[in-house]
């Protein structure tokens, strides 16, 4: 009976759009590293932690007014809500219950309440005993006034801050990668401490040295000495003690040096990754991102164009030399192997990517990237470079939106040079070089006052802008070449391809966009 109730409740939740929306919001707020609201929420919690810790510290020596108590109680209330929220979104129990139910049906058995409860408890326990959950809980405790000892847990409230600062997390993660080295150093240090403390205690502990009254004193002396702090409140008096001290100081110095180098090493190893994660999260915030795979010479030339024109883009290359160049030029970059699905998933599918340009000189790799992207997201426009004319067809079969075979383009331009040097110059100026005269497109938007007007009327002729063609709905299948200056009237969604002075074209475009402000 209970089992049936839980299962039908799980189905009910699963079908409820509202429930999913609310849970999705809670996830965005608390856990989703890519959500836009989480950073604000995190900052707010950190603020609360700092405020309440200050109040509690002040409270130790002073009598605080009830205003502060209200703040403290509100903060703790929010902390509790936050913990409960995380407790809730930690897993999707309904999926597990439905899964269990489906399995039982297959086995033609009825769902058992015991089994379902076991699933629920196991999942939730997993969260409750996770380190972060424990820290959160302990952070709530110091508010309980009757037990003043609980104030020591105040420290946990400060630990809570770690949860919200990504760089600290990464720092600890970096250090945990060097576990072996740290363990090794730690064991050596422990060994040195106990050995020297024992020798010291044996030779000076029984009356020789008034400062060493117990074994604990000897340990204390040993740690103060090995750490090179050396307070000097306990100093050796016997010859043996002095010799031991000499060795201990030397050894302590070595251990410190080693530990420092391990940390530095770990950091320098991982700093690159940390930096890249940061770049990736920067890319995350950008919209209409263009991803350029391959930062070879073509990738570089393209990135330069994109940069000059203020587009949002990120370049990907696995070659260290190339990414260093991208770094020097100040581009967003990622050092990664584009043949891995995970990489493309993180960069392309998880971000607001509009277009992808694949420019490596390896057609097999280009094809693999293209297929990975098109298999999942058909809406992303992909331009791909072909390095061999036989592969152009393959890229088209694989749904590439555009295939660029640079050698063919060059050949077409080059051949013009044979008999038509002037034409070559005209083409080169327009297409390859940067001159004031440029080829551009003007889009006649629906509702614009350009609609119904002629080329002369909107001032194109006056500005010596040459109209090459009008594309209907932006398609080259339906176009009017050389439209008449006076007789052709613009229709909505016309795209006008023109040649003219950059500034003049810019002005026409502005006069269109101004209308829509």
């Amino acid at each position: 009976m209970l089992a049936k109730l839980i299962v039908s409740f799980a189905y009910f939740l699963d079908s409820s759009k509202k429930y999913k929306e609310v849970k999705g919001f809670a996830y965005d707020l608390l856990e989703n590293p890519k959500s836009k609201i989480k950073p604000y929420f995190d900052a707010f919690i950190i603020f609360l932690v700092l405020i309440t810790v200050s109040i509690l510290i002040y409270d130790i020596a002073h009598q605080i007014s009830y205003h502060f108590e209200i703040v403290e109680n509100t903060a703790v209330f929010i902390f509790i809500l936050e913990w409960l929220g995380r407790f809730w979104i930690h897993d999707d129990l309904r999926h597990l219950i439905i899964q269990y139910h489906e399995k039982q049906i297959e086995l033609s058995q009825k769902p058992k309440a015991k089994a379902i409860l076991k699933i629920i408890i196991l999942q939730k326990m997993k969260y409750m005993f996770s380190p972060m959950s424990i820290i959160d809980l302990l952070a709530i405790l110091p508010t309980y006034r009757p037990l003043r000892i609980l104030r020591i847990f105040l420290i946990f409230r400060l630990l809570k801050i770690f949860r919200y600062t990504k760089s600290l997390n990464t720092f600890f993660k970096v250090l945990s990668d060097k576990k072996f080295e740290f363990n090794f150093l730690f064991i050596i240090a422990i060994f040195a401490v106990f050995m020297s403390a024992t020798i010291m205690y044996v030779f000076e502990g029984v009356g020789n040295n008034p400062n060493i009254g117990s074994y604990l004193d000897a340990i204390y002396w040993s740690i103060i000495t090995i750490s090179t702090v050396g307070y000097g409140d306990i100093t050796p008096v016997t010859l043996t003690g002095k010799i031991v001290t000499l060795f201990l100081v030397g050894g302590g110095f070595m251990i410190l040096v080693l530990a420092t180098s391990v940390v530095t090493n770990a950091l320098s190893d991982k700093m690159e990754i940390v930096r890249e994660n940061k770049l990736l999260s920067q890319a995350n915030k950008l919209s209409n991102l263009i991803v350029v795979f391959g930062f070879g010479r073509m990738g570089m030339a393209l990135a330069h164009e994109l940069y000059e024109n203020g587009k949002n883009f990120i370049v990907v290359d696995k070659n260290e030399e190339n990414t260093t160049k991208a770094k020097e030029l100040g581009y967003l970059y990622m050092k990664a192997d584009a043949s891995e699905y995970e990489m493309i998933n993180n960069l392309v599918f998880q971000n607001d990517v509009e277009k992808v340009v694949i420019t490596t000189d390896n057609d097999a790799l280009n094809l693999s990237i293209l297929l990975t992207i098109k298999a999942e997201r058909k809406d992303i426009e992909v331009l791909v470079r072909a390095n061999n004319d036989e592969n152009i067809k393959k890229f088209k079969i694989a749904n590439a939106d555009f295939v660029i075979f640079p050698y063919e383009t060059i050949a077409e331009v080059a051949v013009e040079y044979i008999g038509n040097a002037v034409k070559f110059d005209a083409i080169e100026n327009l297409i390859l070089k940067k001159s004031n005269i440029t080829l551009d497109e003007i889009n006649i938007l629906e509702g614009s006052d350009m609609v119904g007007k002629s080329i002369s009327q909107i001032g194109l002729k006056h500005m010596s802008i040459t109209t090459i063609a009008v594309l209907k709905n932006g398609s080259s299948r339906n176009f009017i070449f050389n439209p008449d200056n006076d007789n052709y009237k613009f229709e909505p969604n016309d795209s006008v391809v023109v040649i003219g002075d950059k500034k003049n074209i810019g002005e026409i475009k502005k006069s269109i966009s101004r209308q829509f402000t």
Binding site: I404, T409, I418, E441, T466, V497
Partner: protein, 230 residues
């Protein structure tokens, strides 16, 4: 018949050769690599093996005598540079077009005597950029490409005594009559700079000036007949 030498059967060299395979051109392909020579022969072109390291080799194939155009399309910048320099030395009037792979090699190539240089990477990148930024312009340009053959860009030398000789180009509507777009011109008196119509200057057309027009092939032919350039 235009005599052309392609030095370097690279990917670009190959594409150029494919475009020039009709009978109007006398094509010679030279490569320093035997494998490339073999490949060119396989593709049906007449190719020879030579490194062009001595002037004698250049003279042998006709540079300095009757070759009109030299394409230096090997994948090696310094080799292209060397051949450009040697060829320029033999023939002042030879048209030399050289590929450059490194951006800073452009000045060197021009100094060595190349008339024009093209960087394959820049061309590819600019093409990609244009598709991203101005997709419709790319569509129109593709109509002009040699493969689609729909529209053509053509240069026309104004003959002496033609109806265009001595008129200002803003004053005439002749281009409109033939459904052509007048893009610009090269005035021999003013030097080698190409003047775009869109620059807004009203300029006088003289004989020997070169006009660039856009239009369908048949209209261009009619126009040429009309002004007496054919």
């Amino acid at each position: 018949m235009t005599k052309i030498v392609i030095f370097g059967y690279s990917k670009t060299g190959r594409e150029i050769a494919k475009l020039l395979s009709d009978d109007e051109y006398d094509l010679q392909i030279i490569d320093e690599n035997l494998l490339s020579v073999g490949k060119a022969n396989e593709d049906g072109f007449y190719a020879r093996h030579s490194s062009f390291s001595e002037d004698k080799m250049l003279e042998e194939i006709g540079i300095g005598k009757d070759i009109d155009v030299l394409f230096c399309t090997s994948t090696n910048d310094s080799l292209n540079l060397f051949v450009t320099l040697s060829a320029r030395n033999l023939d002042k009037n030879l048209k030399i077009l050289t590929l450059i792979y490194k951006n800073n090699d452009e000045k060197k190539m021009i100094l060595a005597g190349a008339n024009r240089t093209i960087s394959p990477y820049d061309v590819g990148a600019l093409k990609a950029y244009r598709i991203i930024d101005k997709p419709k312009v790319s569509k129109v340009l593709s109509l002009f490409s040699l493969q689609s053959n729909k529209l053509s860009m053509n240069e026309i030398v104004v003959p002496k005594g033609s109806i265009l000789d001595g008129v200002y180009y803003k004053d005439i509507s002749i281009f409109k009559e033939f459904d052509l777009i007048f893009l610009g011109m090269l005035d021999k008196e003013l030097g080698d700079e190409f003047i775009f119509f869109s620059e807004g200057i009203n300029h006088k057309i003289d004989h020997h000036d070169i006009l660039i027009v856009l239009g369908s092939k048949s209209n261009i032919k009619k126009f040429k007949t009309h002004i007496g350039a054919l």
